[in-house]
């Protein structure tokens, strides 16, 4: 089997050594916050103050208070600091700053998204002029078809992000109600709980109602296609919001699908122009394209750093930022550029200082499959408890090609193809669909490039996209001498696999197959399965 060199951290971590002690089974939150040494505790405290100020500024607006008491999912946002704590377990120095810089920005972005939803919502703010310039899009969808619209004039509302996806990060039980609603309605329980919960929110009448039109995307699975139908029915027939179906080819590595995909993008743009009354602006598009390329260059540099013995980018906070930047932003907001460069500067600083974030790095892992790591703190836990450094995850391995960024007649034609390519290679679809090459071959190439000896393979019980290849993964991992650690879960339904049931699969693998003892035994069993 492949082995990697074990690296022992020569520097003792500041503050407490066993973060497992901060959990208490009687509580739904942590007993206290982690003591990280004076400097890092004070830094974490100032970021907590910042988060409080973001939440405070949100709730002083009367219509946001009204929205808070109207929508069940809003309760999750009371637990934003709890969610942030989940993503900083055991972190110090640059890694702590990277987690805060990236995830604090995501939180501010989501807070603004909620405020925008409430402003246009017919039940809450009812700002009709604003709502008439809003375009609703899916949660799991690229917004490349909005890159050429002035974001001050046409507002892109990713309605499902604050309602389902982000709210579930802060409160693991919050979508159970919507799953029950969907299943009472007659939807089977064996589809992915994420689109099922979104359908449940629509059935339960718990989505904000706004926008002059909506664009839905055939995302990645049977669940999302089914959910889109239910949501579109309510949007169109009950609220009179016309909904465009952006049908994107799934076999995105086949070159002959690109023309068709580009035509779909043209149609989506024409649809948005028709309903908002605003025109596509090529200056805006190419400015956004330059920012997309800038983000791509930063992402390539991040991967380079992680391929060294001293990785600096890891964990769900950073990968959530990547998701937000790549899919939800797609170059439209210049603020992301500044954050991208700040993150890279922090990582370079950490790399130069050879900064390590656990007592030992015993293994280097690629995290593959459909991942629930936003709902639990698995990646940080994996590093602190077992010394397994998660180098890259499937959702963060996205496009690395540059797109056309100069405004020329040829590039205007190329732009539709670029938007189509990005759309086809959106997060999830780029690996779960597209065939053998993107799911298996890409993984082994990545293991080679990043010098990984373990693949932590998330096995999502309700996801059919990956199930058929289980045997091939095992066979090929064996051929390459890569440890393949299967970890089952059911994404956002903690009734199927609790947090500890998920962690126990790793514990069992590390003890029985690898014959190792944990770096930090206080983390092996954490009483947080009932915690938010």
């Amino acid at each position: 089997m492949k082995t990697v060199e074990k690296i022992i951290n020569p520097v003792k971590r500041a503050g407490e050594q066993s973060p497992g002690k901060i959990y208490d089974e009687k509580l739904k939150v942590r007993a206290r916050r982690e003591w990280r040494g004076l400097k890092d505790t004070l830094y974490d405290y100032t970021r907590w103050l910042y988060l409080m100020s973001v939440l405070g500024r949100f709730i002083i607006v009367p219509r946001n208070v009204k929205g808070f008491f109207r929508y069940r999912w809003m309760m999750s946002y009371l637990f934003v600091p709890h969610g942030m704590d989940k993503f900083t377990i055991g972190l110090r120095d640059e890694a702590l700053r990277i987690a805060h810089t990236s995830f604090n920005f995501v939180i501010a972005d989501v807070t603004q998204a909620i405020a925008n939803c409430f402003r246009g919502d017919r039940r809450v703010g009812n700002d009709k002029a604003y709502s008439d310039k809003c375009v609703i899009t899916d949660e799991n969808s690229m917004v490349t078809f909005m890159m050429g619209f002035d974001k001050e004039k046409v507002h892109t509302i990713l309605r499902e992000v604050p309602t389902m996806f982000a709210s579930n990060i802060f409160h693991q039980f919050n979508v159970m109600h919507y799953l029950d609603v969907a299943q009472q309605y007659g939807i089977p329980g064996d589809v992915c709980p994420m689109p099922e919960a979104e359908a449940g929110i629509s059935i339960d009448d718990d989505f904000c109602v706004l926008g002059c039109c909506a664009v839905q995307n055939n995302t990645t699975c049977d669940g999302s296609l089914m959910g889109n139908g239910i949501i579109a029915k309510r949007l169109e027939r009950e609220y009179g919001i016309p909904t465009f179906q952006l049908a994107t080819p799934l076999r995105h590595k086949e070159p002959d699908v690109l023309d068709y995909a580009a035509r779909e993008i043209r149609k989506a743009i024409a649809f948005v122009e028709e309903h908002t009354g605003e025109k596509w602006d090529w200056d805006k598009y190419f400015a956004a394209a330059r920012r997309v390329n800038d983000a791509t260059r930063c992402r390539i540099a991040q991967l380079e750093i992680n391929s060294t013995p001293y990785p600096q980018f890891f964990g769900a906070a950073f990968s959530l930022y990547n998701d937000t930047n790549y899919m939800g932003n797609s170059g439209r907001d210049p603020q992301f550029v500044e954050i991208d460069h700040k993150l890279l500067a922090l990582a370079e600083q950490g790399y130069r200082a050879k900064r390590m974030y656990a007592k030992e790095y015993r293994h280097r892992a690629i995290v593959w499959g459909v991942q629930p790591q936003y709902i639990i703190d698995q990646l940080y836990w994996l590093l602190q408890c077992w010394g397994v450094m998660p180098l890259a995850d499937m959702l963060s391995i996205i496009n690395t090609d540059m797109i056309a960024e100069e405004d020329t007649p040829e590039n205007r034609e190329q732009a539709y193809r670029d938007m189509a390519m990005l759309n086809m290679e959106m997060i999830m679809r780029n690996h779960t669909h597209g065939g053998y090459k993107v799911l298996l071959d890409d993984l082994w190439e990545l293991c080679e490039k990043m010098n990984a000896d373990i693949v932590m393979m998330w096995e999502h019980m309700s996801c059919k996209a990956l199930t058929g290849m289980h045997g091939m993964f095992e066979e090929q991992a064996r051929e390459r001498g890569i440890h393949l650690m299967w970890v089952s879960h059911d994404l956002c339904d903690p009734r199927v696999f609790t947090r500890q049931a998920i962690r126990d699969q790793v514990n069992n693998y590390m003890r029985t197959v690898m014959r190792e003892e944990p770096l930090d035994p206080s983390l092996e069993n954490i009483p947080d399965s009932e915690a938010y």
């Binding site: 509580l27 739904k28 939150v29 942590r30 007993a31 206290r32 916050r33 003591w35 505790t41 405290y45 907590w48 103050l49 409080m52 008491f69 109207r70 069940r72 309760m75 009371l78 637990f79 600091p81 709890h82 704590d85 609603v181 009472q184 309605y185 059935i203 339960d204 009448d205 718990d206 938010y532």
Partner: protein, 55 residues
């Protein structure tokens, strides 16, 4: 002159008081503990709301 000396001292006192109170809340996670007590009441509130539910 006395006022000039007093003013920064008052500011310092307020800042120190703010730090002591907020840092205590932060380190003992009192914000999240208090919020978790509210959650069951909020759930009951949301259960009672009238909705145009399809079921």
């Amino acid at each position: 002159m006395k006022k000039l000396v007093k003013f920064p001292l008052i500011l310092l006192g307020i800042a120190a008081g703010f730090f002591v109170v907020t840092f205590t809340i932060y380190i003992f996670n009192l914000d999240m503990k208090a919020t978790s007590l509210l959650a069951p009441f909020l759930e009951k509130w949301y259960d009672k709301l009238e909705r145009k539910n399809y079921i």
